[in-house]
């Protein structure tokens, strides 16, 4: 199983500013001084091996979209944020214009999670098949509405792929696209749903836009079971814990601290920080990652949780 991240930013897509690009260049050039990087190969090796990730890369700015690859013929996605535009273009570039089938599991219907669909080119091309699964009764309405005037110039009816909307019930197992799939309701404005996706003995939990009320033992227990021994937990860590329990309480997001605790309790293998705060630049997310790894280390019992931060383009093989 391979998990590929096409969009990892929370709430709204963002782009790196020219000031940030300049800052990275200055840092890299100073670090490279006197290193004799006079060939592309030497320069590339330096960039890849010696520069910090936040200098040599970016965490990216597309909103939520994650691909689950099982080796089967169909494409499987979680959410259709702006990252879906890049994914769709990649499918067309590598696989041709038609004959594709997509299965999409929707966490919820807030704008940042559906906004990629009007730009999802495979949906406009006949011969493709898009199956969109979700637990909200407004699933189809939300997609049709964002493609309608005055919000968008191309109406949903002009999408020529076969598009289906399939309602799922939470807390029930389904066999879809070769995966065992189970949804769970989460605290978020208008509700969101996490997905536990199992394939060939591997488990991915996609849990974004989810606020965890840690003072409710039954809820903690239920989520620990949902995360139980997952190989990968993709976790909404948009806020600091202090913000999440004070000024941003009931805003529907969680923190790195709760992510570590839940994965420790569930004995999950890997925690991937996701739905990054849009005001955070690359350095800030890198710091968040370093702090989260440190937290995992100083609070570790007999089980180690590997901590990563998602970025647009990240691939995790399970």
């Amino acid at each position: 199983m391979l998990v590929r991240f096409w969009g990892t930013r929370g709430s709204i897509p963002v782009a790196m500013t020219s000031a940030e690009v300049k800052r990275k260049l200055v840092t890299a050039l100073v670090a490279a001084a006197g290193r004799g990087l006079d060939t592309p190969g030497k320069a590339r090796a330096f960039v890849e091996q010696e520069l910090d990730f936040s200098v040599s890369h970016t965490f990216g700015g597309n909103s939520s979209c994650v691909q689950i690859e099982t080796g089967g013929p169909d494409y499987v996605l979680c959410d259709l944020g702006s990252g879906a535009r890049v994914f769709g273009n990649n499918v067309l570039a590598t696989g041709g214009p038609s004959g594709h089938r997509f299965h999409v599991f929707m966490s919820h219907l807030h704008w940042d999670h559906i906004m990629g669909f009007p730009f999802f080119m495979p949906a406009y091309l006949p011969g493709n098949h898009v199956r969109i699964y979700g637990c909200h009764d407004t699933l189809e309405e939300a997609f049709r509405r964002q493609n309608a005037a005055p919000s968008f110039p191309v109406d949903f009816s002009r999408m020529n792929a076969q598009i289906e909307f399939i309602r799922l019930e939470p807390e029930r197992d389904y066999d879809l696209a070769g995966l065992r799939v189970r949804a769970k309701r989460q605290h978020h404005g208008g509700d969101s749903y996490g997905y536990r996706l199992e394939y060939d003995g591997k488990v991915v939990v996609y849990s974004t836009d989810s606020e965890h009320k840690q003072d409710d033992p039954e809820e903690v227990k239920a989520f620990v079971e949902f995360f139980r021994e997952a190989d990968l937990v993709i976790f909404d860590a948009q806020y600091s814990l202090a913000d999440a329990v004070s000024v941003k309480e009931d805003w529907g997001h969680s923190s790195n601290v709760v992510g570590v605790e839940m994965c420790q309790l569930a004995r999950a293998q890997r925690l991937c920080l996701y739905h990054h705060e849009p005001i955070f630049d690359d350095e800030r997310i890198a710091t968040l990652l370093a702090e989260t790894r440190r937290l995992e280390e100083i609070t570790r019992g007999d089980h180690r949780v590997e901590v990563q931060a998602a970025y647009d383009g990240l691939e995790i093989t399970l």
């Binding site: 903690v220 814990l241 923190s255 601290v257 605790e261 309790l265 702090e291």
Partner: protein, 123 residues
């Protein structure tokens, strides 16, 4: 969780012990409640964490609720004496930015009440 307390002049100082986690946070909350209830007279409250070896998110939330209640009642609440691990947890969770945190009880009392500091010095 039993909470040992001491009083220095107008200030109540509480001394939680051990781990404050999912198993003990409710006890911690219940143990704090009487002191916050009597803090309505605007007496400061200091939670000396010297004996706390670990605090989880749910324990931190108890502190946040206590801080909110204290603020609503017009009294000051501070924590002090964080062990190294707990101090790191405060920093990573950003609780060091939203609660009054002092290195030692003496420094907490110095910031909150000159009478309490004098009483602590005389003790």
């Amino acid at each position: 969780m039993e909470l040992v307390s001491k009083r220095f002049a107008d200030t109540a100082v509480l001394f939680p012990q051990g781990r404050i986690d999912h198993a003990t946070a409710e006890q911690f909350k219940a143990a704090l409640a009487p002191y916050l209830a009597t803090a309505a007279g605007r007496d400061p409250v200091v939670i000396d964490m010297t004996g706390v070896e670990y605090i989880s998110s749910v324990g931190l939330r108890v502190l946040m609720l206590a801080s909110k209640q204290a603020k609503a009642q017009g009294c000051a609440l501070a924590v002090c004496g964080l062990q190294a691990v707990v101090r790191e947890i405060f920093e990573i969770s950003r609780f060091n930015l939203v609660l009054q945190v002092f290195p030692s009880l003496r420094e907490a009392l110095a910031a909150l009440s000159t009478e309490a500091l004098a009483a602590f010095g005389a003790a």
